[in-house]
Amino acid sequence: MTHPLLRIEDLRVEIAGRDRTVHALDGVSLDLAPGDSLGIVGESGCGKTMTALSVLRLLPPGGRITGGRILFDGTDLAAAPEPVLRGIRGNTLGMVFQDPLTCLNPTLTIGAQVAEPLLLHGSLSKAEARSRAEEMLRLVGLPRPAERMAHYPHQLSGGMRQRVAIAMALICEPRLLIADEPTTALDASTRHQILELIDDLRERLGMALILVTHDLGVIARRVDRVAVMYGGRIAERAPVRRLFTTPRHRYTQALLAALPERATAGRPPAGIPGLPPSLLTRPTGCRFAPRCGFAGDRCRTTEPDLAGGEHSFACFHPVDPAVTRTDPAAAATDPAAGLRAPAAPPERSDEPLLRLSGVAKTYPLRAGPFARRRSGEGRAGEISAVAGISLTVRRGETFGIVGESGSGKSTLGRLIVGLEAPTEGTIRFAGRDISTLTRRELRAHRRNVQLMFQDSYAAMDPRMRVGAVLREPLVIQGIGNKAEQRRRIAELLDDVGLPRGAVDRYPHEFSGGQRQRLGLARALALAPALVVADEPLSALDVSVQAQILRLMRELQREKGIGYLFISHDLAVVRHLADTVGVMYLGKLVETGPARSVLTRPLHPYTQGLLATVSPPDPDAAAPGTPLSGEAPSAAAPPSGCRFRTRCPHAVALCADSEPPVAEPFVAGHRVACHLV
């Protein structure tokens, strides 16, 4: 690399808070050639985003660059005065942020926001800028761009807003695009479309790309090189294929071993124990040493330097390439992981625990004396969130529900827990229709079915200590006296692997993974027969995800709990679920044994969904036909088969009648499609 476009040398960033300073970046060095692409990965809090933000000098309040240089096209951005930076930002250096819902100004039109950088950096007239903006919106695949120019962000879906954000970043045709978790907030099919779009535009515009992500699947087939960050430093840097096949740093190896995609029945994904360093003090020695199974005395006293050429790593006990070439995850941090005997299948019986028949839930679109009824076909002014779902969950079974956002997954969960009543159909739990239960019986029923949330922190009263949070369900159900409750809480904390001293602490004192353990402990407090887990792992890093996944399985084996596991992450569902149900716009389009549904999907939607998954493997075969477009509104679902508007095989029949449920090949593998 003779003339790098971007060269970061020994970058140091500190973020000063009220009474403490975080050493967010501590000697980061990188280079990037023109047109090249680099992925930055690592757990949250490792400095990925800080690296990206420092390049544009957009650090959060209190953040400042304390050392090093950032050479972009010959200019040192670390030292450049504000006017020089302003000339570069949005012009030769574009950035796309994580959350498309909040990164656009809600009170300005799409057109004005996209044209803004052009007016700042170009010498175009307003009209010229507008027509360029429209062209750009067309290029990023926004349907009807001319019309969209006058729209406001809230009128677009999340995926469309991210397209707008990309259009904004690219309108001046930058030489470098920095994308910080650009798809994390999006659905699998949208994620795939956005990543394809970035790929395509990069090629067309010949720009360089830095893709920051926690998702190894996102970068596997999309960047040339990868930098793995840990504790504010770069742990390993390598061409993408080398990194995935022969990782050398123990941290990279552990990250790969935590992936559910790499797990097999005999080897569950291995979490990385502990947490990344807080960076309040600059650690001595290797930053990963406290969590590394291979760390020796030297690791704890001396900081390893990033050494090597194209593939460099900072580790005193690197992975032996000869071992990993055959199976990169074979020897992870937890050396016992690979040797552990296959998990005994959880105790399961054929007794149906939960049976839903024809369950539907509709919400009125609007209420109040001035509500305007929207006229349409069928029942006007209603949102059909769940439409005629029948399924059975057996005792001790894990039933995975997958689907995009808006498919009605969470509503289904709320119906099962009894938080809402279905508009139609019956929900039978342990043989009894829950709509016929008296108030007292319903309370008893709630003991048996518990909910675990995606964001356990938001679901806990921030002013209650953990002890009180865990005691509450016991008090409500009138179980035991104080001493017994205390004993039960200690037991629960043991079960989920938290110290007993946690009872005196507040939820905010825990990390994301620990909060999820607390959420699980609370769900288990009443020894339920079924736990409805709504996206319990989505907010977690893979390293922590693997820990929670393992914990959920262990508890299932010990206590015979059934899980209704709601997730958009097919890899996790594949790993955990015995049975899978695929939801689309309130309908269950396919259901059956997990292996059968996820390896030989019958419904075109399931096939499309599986094709959107980016496996964390650079050599994975290109997926089949991924889903295109977006799901229509549940307020006006398509007639007949609800999927027909996005289905590549749809015929006239699909619009006329709803497809019947058939069980064509494998016993229990049912599908609702005219064309199977």
Binding site: L58, L85, C103, L104, N105, P106
Partner: protein, 316 residues
């Protein structure tokens, strides 16, 4: 936008009808009825009965309400017992003066509070912010009558810069011509509002500066000042719009004190004098006007919202 306005106007009409019911009820809740209130404790039962029949107070309440509503629509708010003038003409005379005072105060408040709030937000935690915060709290905590007295003492008695009495002209034009006399009443009314508005503006700007769209704008290469003008200002004005509508009725009661203090012949002074003279038709007339102002205030808030925030506009 149009359907939104039509809907809000329809709602406002319903609320106004309710206001008329309440005002009507107030009239009949007077101890001993309006006759006793007007004719006094010495009046004979015959005199009371004669008065009630003459005024139609002996008919059924629904019948009376319909009559009252009918008179309202024709602009008949009754006659003042003391001033020998119709309430409508009294209000017609006084309302523009009060509206002038309130409007000028509100305009002054908005013109000063918005930049002050922005300044405080941008200089957050620095000297300017602390000083302005202190001054704002002091102004907010000082009662209007005390503030007025201090201002009169300083600017009128000591410095002899401004007159202590408000303009006494009959027309709005005449009042405006006597601008120096208008300064003290307007400033007295406005100070508390400036304090409140600037606090709201400060926190709204701070909230918006922390939003991600601001970071996006910086990533485009926008300068700080243009981000404020183009992106933040409009978003930060949204909470202020609520306040503006809510302040309209409060403003009318605020002018009551200010008008009596500066002897400004507006609606507040009219109300004050009528209250002392038990002039019920006038009191009820003013109450009705304040009720209407309240409804108008929330209507203005809604419209301002819709203008500022496209998300609200699109909700039918």
């Amino acid at each position: 936008m149009i359907p939104f306005l039509v809907k809000r106007l329809a709602q406002a009409a319903v609320v106004l009808l309710l206001v008329s019911v309440i005002v009507f009820a107030l009239l009949h809740l007077l101890p001993g009825g309006p006759a006793r209130a007007i004719l006094g404790v010495q009046a004979t039962p015959e005199a009371l009965a004669h008065f009630n029949h003459q005024q139609g107070y002996d008919r059924s309440l629904p019948e009376q309400y319909v009559g009252y509503l009918g008179r309202l629509f024709t602009g008949d708010l009754g006659e003042s017992y003391k001033l020998n003038q119709s309430v409508l003409s009294l209000l017609g005379e006084r309302l523009p003066r009060t509206a002038l005072l309130a409007g000028l105060s509100l305009a002054l408040a908005a013109a000063l509070a918005v930049p002050l709030g922005i300044l405080q937000a941008v200089r957050r935690g620095r000297a300017a912010d602390h000083v302005l915060t202190g001054v704002a709290f002091l102004a907010y905590a000082t009662p209007v009558f005390f503030l007025g007295l201090v201002l009169i003492l300083v600017f009128s008695q000591e410095l002899r810069l401004l007159p202590a009495e408000a303009p006494q002209a009959d027309s709005v034009g005449g009042i405006l011509a006597d601008a120096p006399a208008l300064v003290l009443p307007v400033v007295t009314t406005a100070l508390g509002i400036i304090a409140a508005f600037s606090r709201y503006m400060r926190s709204a700007v701070l909230d918006n500066l922390g939003e991600e769209y601001v970071r996006t704008a910086r990533a485009k290469g926008q300068s700080g000042a243009r981000i404020m003008a183009r992106h933040v200002l409009r978003n930060a004005l949204i909470p202020l719009a609520t306040l503006l509508g809510l302040y309209l009725p409060t403003l009318f009661s605020g002018t009551l004190v200010v008008e009596s203090m500066f002897n400004y012949p507006g609606m507040g002074l009219l109300f004050w004098n009528a209250a002392q003279a038990s002039d019920f038709p006038v009191l009820l007339g003013v109450t009705l006007v304040v009720g209407v102002a309240t409804v108008l205030g929330s209507l203005i808030t809604d419209i301002a919202y819709a203008v500022l925030d496209p998300r609200i506009r699109s909700v039918p």
